[in-house]
C-alpha cells in the first residue's frame, strides 16, 4: 500500500486540491451572509459543500484502498447497476425544476447521472480492450455507441439535455482507439455549418459554402479527387444548413431555441432569456485585471447572477479575482487535462488507457462547455464546472472518476 501511495501521481492530486479549495472559496462568496456565521453551518450552501468535501476525502481513501483489478473485472456489473440507477429514477426519482434526475434522501439528494459517467468509461474501456481491437468495423462501432447511447437516452428522458452533451466526450477515446476519421471531421463540419447558418442565415451561407467547395476541389484537382464524394458532402451540407431553421423551430424546445438566439445576439431581453448571460458577463467584465477582491464583487454580493454557486461559479472568479483569477483557473484545468493525457498515454494496458482517455475527455467537455457558456461562447447548458461548482453528487462523481484512473496508473506496472 505505501508503495502504491508513492506511485500516485501527486501533481494531479495537487491540482485537484487547489481547484476544490479555490472552488469552495468562491462558493462561500456567492452564498455568504455575514462573517459571524460558522463555515460549518449545514443550513448554508458553503457549509454543505464543506461537508461534501470532507466526505469526498473519505470516498477517495476508500477508492485508493480498493483492489485495482476490481474495476476491470466488475466493469460490466458496475455499468449495469448504473443503468438501473437511471431507470429507477422514473420510478423513485424526485422531480426538481421539471427534471427527474435525483434520488431524495431526506434533506439531501443524489444525482446518479454524475456517477454514471464513471461506469460508462469503465464499460467502454473493458469492451475495447477485450475485443480484437477493431473500431474500423461497423459492428464494433455500433456496440461501442450502444454502451454510450443507452445511458445517454435515459438521461435525455429526464429530460436533461445538458448532462447528455457530456456523453459526446466518449468519442475522443473511441477516436484514439481507431474510430474512422470522418466521425470527427464531419462532426466538426456539422457544428460549423449549424453555427454559421444560425449566424448568417441560409441565403448567405449557402453560396459561400458552394464557392468554398469549388475552390477546394480545384485546388486538389491534381490529386484526382473523387468528384462524387465532393458532391455528396456538398449536398448533405447544404441540406443540413437548410434544415437548421427546422431543427431550431421543431426539434428544439422553445427554451433551448431561446438559448441559441441569446448566443448569437438575436435575443437581448435581459429580463428574460438573456438575463443569466448578461449578468454573468457584467460580473466577469467588471473584474478587470485583478478583480474586486474576495467577498467584494458587487454583482456577486448583489446576487445578480442566478445559479452562481452552481453552473455560473466561474463568473464569481471573474468578478472577484479578475483576469488573473480566470486565467489561473483555465491554466490549472489545461495542465490537469494535459497531465491526464500524459498519464493515459503511458499506460501499458489498453483498459487503463481507454479509461484514462475517457476521464480526460469528460473533464475537457465539462470544462469547455461550462466556461464557454458562462463567458457567452456557447448556449446555456446546465452542466457543472468540475471540482468548482456546488454539489455533492458532482464533486464525488468527478473524484471517483479521476481517482480510479490514478489508482490504475499507480499500479500500471503490475497490470501488464
Amino acid at each position: 500500500m505505501p508503495k502504491t501511495l508513492l506511485q500516485i501521481d501527486w501533481l494531479t492530486i495537487f491540482i485537484i486540491i487547489i481547484l476544490i479549495g479555490f472552488g469552495w472559496v468562491n462558493i462561500y462568496s456567492t452564498t455568504f451572509v455575514g462573517p459571524e456565521e460558522s463555515v460549518f453551518d449545514l443550513s448554508r450552501i458553503y457549509g454543505k459543500q464543506l461537508f461534501w468535501i470532507i466526505l469526498g476525502i473519505v470516498i477517495s481513501i476508500v477508492i485508493f484502498a480498493m483492489d485495482t483489478k476490481f474495476f476491470e473485472r466488475f466493469a460490466n456489473v458496475i455499468y449495469l447497476l448504473a443503468i438501473l440507477s437511471l431507470v429507477g429514477l422514473f420510478l423513485f426519482g424526485k422531480t426538481i425544476a421539471g427534471q427527474t434526475a435525483w434520488y431524495s434522501f431526506g434533506s439531501f439528494s443524489i444525482q446518479p447521472a454524475e456517477f454514471v459517467k464513471t461506469a460508462v468509461a469503465l464499460a467502454l474501456a473493458k469492451y475495447i480492450s477485450e475485443m480484437d481491437n477493431d473500431l474500423s468495423r461497423f459492428t464494433s462501432q455500433l456496440k461501442a455507441f450502444a454502451i454510450i447511447g443507452l445511458p445517454l437516452a435515459l438521461i435525455m428522458l429526464q429530460p436533461d439535455a445538458g448532462s447528455a452533451v457530456i456523453y459526446l466526450s466518449f468519442l475522443i477515446p473511441l477516436y484514439r482507439e481507431g474510430l474512422p476519421h470522418f466521425y470527427i471531421s464531419y462532426g466538426f463540419l456539422a457544428v460549423a455549418i449549424f453555427i454559421l447558418t444560425l449566424k448568417f442565415g441560409f441565403s448567405i451561407f449557402a453560396p459561400v459554402f458552394v464557392a468554398l467547395f469549388i475552390i477546394i476541389y480545384l485546388f486538389n484537382r491534381k490529386k484526382k479527387p473523387k468528384l462524387w464524394r465532393y458532391i455528396l458532402v456538398l449536398i448533405l451540407g447544404l441540406g443540413f444548413s437548410y434544415s437548421v431553421n427546422f431543427i431550431l423551430n421543431s426539434v428544439l424546445l422553445p427554451h433551448q431555441k431561446e438559448r441559441f438566439n441569446v448566443l448569437i445576439g438575436e435575443t437581448t431581453d435581459i429580463r428574460g432569456a438573456a438575463f443569466n448571460l448578461y449578468q454573468s458577463e457584467v460580473a466577469i467584465g467588471s473584474g478587470g485585471w485583478t478583480g474586486k477582491g474576495w467577498l467584494k464583487g458587487s454583482q456577486t454580493q448583489g446576487r445578480f447572477v442566478p445559479e452562481q454557486h452552481t453552473d455560473y461559479i466561474f463568473s464569481t472568479v471573474g468578478e472577484e479575482w479578475g483576469f488573473l483569477g480566470t486565467s489561473l483557473v483555465i491554466i490549472l484545468f489545461t495542465i490537469l487535462i494535459l497531465r491526464l493525457y500524459h498519464l493515459a498515454e503511458r499506460q501499458k494496458s489498453q483498459f487503463s488507457r481507454v479509461y484514462g482517455y475517457s476521464v480526460l475527455s469528460v473533464f475537457f467537455v465539462h470544462f469547455f462547455v461550462n466556461i464557454a457558456m458562462v463567458i457567452g461562447l456557447f448556449p446555456t447548458v446546465g452542466i457543472p464546472l468540475p471540482f468548482f461548482s456546488y454539489g455533492g453528487s458532482g464533486l464525488w462523481g468527478f473524484l471517483i472518476l479521476v481517482l480510479i484512473f490514478l489508482k490504475l496508473d499507480a499500479k500500471r506496472k503490475s497490470l501488464d
Partner: protein, 622 residues
C-alpha cells in the same frame, strides 16, 4: 494524429477562453462603468390599474396614488428607530419585526416595510427619507371606488403573498394583485405591465446615471379598462332591497347572457378593503362565520330550486310527449303514491292542465307528469338519465363557465347517483323514489345564477348565452367564443309557449297576481324551499326560503332574474316582491309602487336569522 486530438482541443479551448476573457475583462469598455463598487439598481414604475365601468359607461372603480415604504436590509445603516417608527406610524417593535422579516425574505432585495401611506404622509416623509439609508418610497396605485356596492363582483386588490411570488415570477414582494371578482379574473388585463429603469448605483446607494442610456429599460403599460355588463343602478337597488336579508339576486339580459346585476347579501362596502385598513376589515369580514359577507351567495350558495323547477318538469314532459296540453288532472289536495306516501298540495281550483298547473303551482300535476316521464323508459335508470340530460342542457349540475373566480356546480342527480344512494342492485328503486324532483324539492340543488340562466333560457324559448360579467376590454367587445356561442337546450321551441303562458298567468290569476307592474307583461314563478341548518350539532328545520324567478316583457324579454331570500317563507312574500321591483326599476327606471318598496325596505329577517342561535325552541314559517 489520433494521439494529438486531446492536445489540440485543450490548447484551442484555453487559447479561445483567454482571448475572450482578455476581451471581456481588459479591453471591453462597456463594463468599466460597472466596475468598482457600482452596481445596477432597478427602479420600477407601476402603471395605473385599468378602470372599471358599468354597462352604461358609469365609472365604478378608479385609482388613487399610494406610497409604500420599502427597505433593502443589507443597505440599512444605523438609524434612529424611534424617530422612523413614529414617522411611519408604527411601534418600534413592529418596525423591528418588519425589518427582520425583510431580512429573511432577502438581505439584498427590497421588501415592503409599511404599505400605502396617504399623499399627505408621503409629502412629509419624503423630505426626511434621506436620513434613513436603505429605505425608499415606492409609488403604487390603489383603488378608488365610486360605488359603495358590487363588492362581490369587483373583488379587491391586496399585496401578493409569499406563495404567489414563488409561483409566478412576475410578482415581487409588495406588489398588488387582484383577489376575488373581476380584479382576480381579469388581473392580467387590469394590471398592465410594470416598467423598469436600470440605474448605476454607487457605494452610497445613490442612482448616479441611467445604465447604457436606457438600452435595457422598459416603459410601463397602463392596464386596460373594463366595461362590465352590470347596470350599476340596478345593482345598487338590488343591494338596497336585500338589506337585512340573506340571499342573492341574479339578473341576466336573455338575448346576450350579460349579467345585469349579481347581488349577494349581506355584502360590504368595497372601500373597506382599500389601503391600510384592508387587513383589519378583512379579518372582521372573514371571521363573520354566521352571515358570511365574503361568501358570494349569488354564485356559490346552492338551494333546492323549489317550484320554479316545475317549469322544467313541464318542458321535459312535453318534449318526451308524455302529456297533452289539454289533458287535465284532478288535485285532491295532494298526490298519493306507493305505500301511503303522499305529496301534499295547497288549496287551488281543480282540475288543472299544463298552463293552469303552472299558474297555480299544483304539486299533484307535476308529480304525475314527472312520473310519466321517468316511467316512459324500461328502467328508472334510463328514465332518470334522459331527464338528467334535458336538465343539464339548461346548465344545471355543472359550473356555468362565467368569468368570475368562484362558483358551485350545484347538484343534478343521474342514475349513478341514485344507484349509489339506494345501494343498487341489492335494492331496487323506482321513479316514485325521486318524485320530489318534480317540484324542485328533491336532490336537485341550484345556485341563483343557474336558476337565472334557466329563466333566461325559457325567456328565449330554448337557448341561452353563457352568463358573463365583462362586456368589453379596452373598448373592444368580448369576443371569447365561450360567451358568443349560443347554447341550445334539448327542448323544442314550441313547447315553451304553454310554459310561458302559465308563467304569465302566475301574474294574471296565480300565486303572484298582486305583484303585477302596470304596463309590463311579466312571466314568473314562485317557489319555497324547505331547509335545515346545524347549530352545535343539532339539525333543525328553518323557515322556508323564498324563491322567485321572472322575466319581462313577455314578448322580447329584456331581463330574466332569479331571487333567493333565505328563510323568507313563501315565494311571493320576499323574493316575488323584490323581483317585481327589480323589473320595474330596470324597465321603467323609477318605482311607482312606493308601498311595495317601503314594505321591502322596512322588513328585515334579522329576527328569523337569530332564531337558531337563541338557544331556545322556536317556531318556523310564522
Amino acid at each position: 494524429m489520433r494521439k494529438l486530438l486531446p492536445i489540440l482541443l485543450v490548447s484551442f479551448a484555453a487559447f479561445l477562453f483567454l482571448i475572450r476573457l482578455f476581451y471581456l475583462q481588459i479591453l471591453n469598455e462597456n463594463y468599466d462603468e460597472v466596475s468598482t463598487n457600482i452596481s445596477l439598481r432597478k427602479v420600477y414604475d407601476y402603471p395605473q390599474r385599468g378602470y372599471i365601468y358599468d354597462r352604461n359607461g358609469k365609472l365604478m372603480v378608479a385609482n388613487q396614488p399610494a406610497y409604500d415604504v420599502m427597505a433593502v436590509p443589507l443597505e440599512v445603516k444605523e438609524f434612529d428607530t424611534l424617530e422612523l417608527a413614529s414617522l411611519l406610524k408604527l411601534t418600534p417593535d413592529r418596525l423591528k419585526i418588519q425589518l427582520e422579516k425583510a431580512w429573511r425574505y432577502s438581505p439584498r432585495l427590497a421588501s415592503l416595510i409599511t404599505p400605502q401611506l396617504t399623499k399627505k404622509e408621503y409629502a412629509y416623509l419624503q423630505e426626511r427619507m434621506h436620513k434613513y439609508e436603505g429605505f425608499y418610497i415606492q409609488k403604487r396605485s390603489l383603488r378608488d371606488y365610486n360605488a359603495d356596492h358590487s363588492a362581490n363582483i369587483l373583488g379587491y386588490i391586496a399585496e401578493v403573498g409569499q406563495g404567489e411570488i414563488s409561483q409566478n415570477s412576475y410578482y415581487q414582494s409588495g406588489d398588488l394583485k387582484g383577489k376575488q371578482g373581476v380584479e382576480e379574473q381579469y388581473e392580467e388585463v387590469l394590471r398592465g405591465e410594470r416598467g423598469v429603469k436600470h440605474y448605476l448605483r454607487d457605494i452610497h446607494n445613490k442612482n448616479i446615471k441611467s445604465f447604457k442610456n436606457g438600452k435595457f429599460d422598459t416603459l410601463s403599460q397602463k392596464g386596460s379598462d373594463l366595461h362590465l355588463t352590470i347596470d350599476a343602478e340596478l345593482q345598487a337597488y338590488g343591494e338596497l332591497l336585500l338589506q337585512g336579508k340573506r340571499g342573492g339576486i341574479v339578473a341576466i339580459e336573455p338575448g346576450t347572457g350579460e349579467i345585469l346585476s349579481l347581488v349577494t347579501a349581506p355584502s360590504y362596502d368595497p372601500d373597506l378593503l382599500v389601503g391600510r385598513k384592508r387587513s383589519r376589515n378583512f379579518t372582521r369580514l372573514w371571521y363573520d362565520s354566521i352571515s358570511k359577507p365574503l361568501y358570494n351567495r349569488a354564485l356559490q350558495a346552492t338551494y333546492a330550486p323549489g317550484s320554479p323547477f316545475k317549469a322544467l318538469t313541464g318542458l321535459v314532459a312535453l318534449q318526451e310527449g308524455v302529456v297533452g296540453l289539454e289533458e287535465s288532472f284532478n288535485c285532491f289536495g295532494g298526490y298519493s303514491y306507493g305505500r301511503g306516501a303522499r305529496m301534499g298540495c295547497h288549496n287551488h281550483p281543480s282540475p288543472v292542465e299544463m298552463v293552469t298547473g303552472i299558474a297555480h303551482s299544483c304539486n299533484s300535476y307535476f308529480a304525475q307528469i314527472y312520473r310519466r316521464t321517468i316511467e316512459k323508459y324500461d328502467t328508472p335508470q334510463k328514465g332518470i338519465d334522459v331527464w338528467q340530460k334535458h336538465m343539464a342542457s339548461f346548465g344545471l349540475g355543472n359550473y356555468l363557465g362565467y368569468d368570475l373566480p368562484v362558483g358551485s356546480p350545484g347538484l343534478l342527480p343521474d342514475s349513478e347517483y341514485y344507484n349509489k344512494a339506494y345501494n343498487y342492485p341489492t335494492y331496487q328503486w323506482y321513479a316514485s323514489a325521486t318524485l320530489s324532483n318534480a317540484i324542485g324539492q328533491g336532490e336537485v340543488l341550484t345556485t341563483p345564477i343557474q336558476l337565472a340562466n334557466v329563466t333566461a333560457a325559457i325567456a328565449n324559448k330554448g337557448w341561452f348565452y353563457r352568463p358573463h360579467i365583462v362586456k368589453s376590454i379596452a373598448g373592444s367587445p368580448v369576443k371569447d367564443e365561450k360567451y358568443t356561442t349560443k347554447q341550445v337546450t334539448t327542448i323544442d321551441k314550441k313547447h315553451f309557449e304553454p310554459i310561458i303562458q302559465g308563467m304569465h298567468d302566475v301574474f294574471n290569476y296565480g300565486t303572484a297576481s298582486y305583484l303585477r307592474v302596470p304596463g309590463i307583461e311579466i312571466c314568473g314563478k314562485t317557489g319555497t324551499s324547505e331547509n335545515y341548518t346545524v347549530v352545535d350539532g343539532e339539525r333543525m328545520q328553518l323557515t322556508d326560503h323564498s324563491i322567485f324567478v321572472a322575466f319581462a316583457p313577455k314578448e322580447d324579454p329584456k331581463i330574466a332574474l332569479a331571487v333567493f331570500v333565505e328563510n323568507g317563507y313563501w315565494g311571493s312574500r320576499y323574493a316575488g316582491r323584490i323581483s317585481s321591483l327589480m323589473i320595474e326599476k330596470y324597465l321603467k327606471d323609477n318605482i311607482e309602487r312606493k308601498d311595495l318598496e317601503n314594505w321591502i325596505l322596512s322588513n328585515t329577517l334579522e329576527d328569523e336569522y337569530a332564531k337558531p342561535y337563541s338557544g331556545e325552541p322556536f317556531k318556523i314559517n310564522q
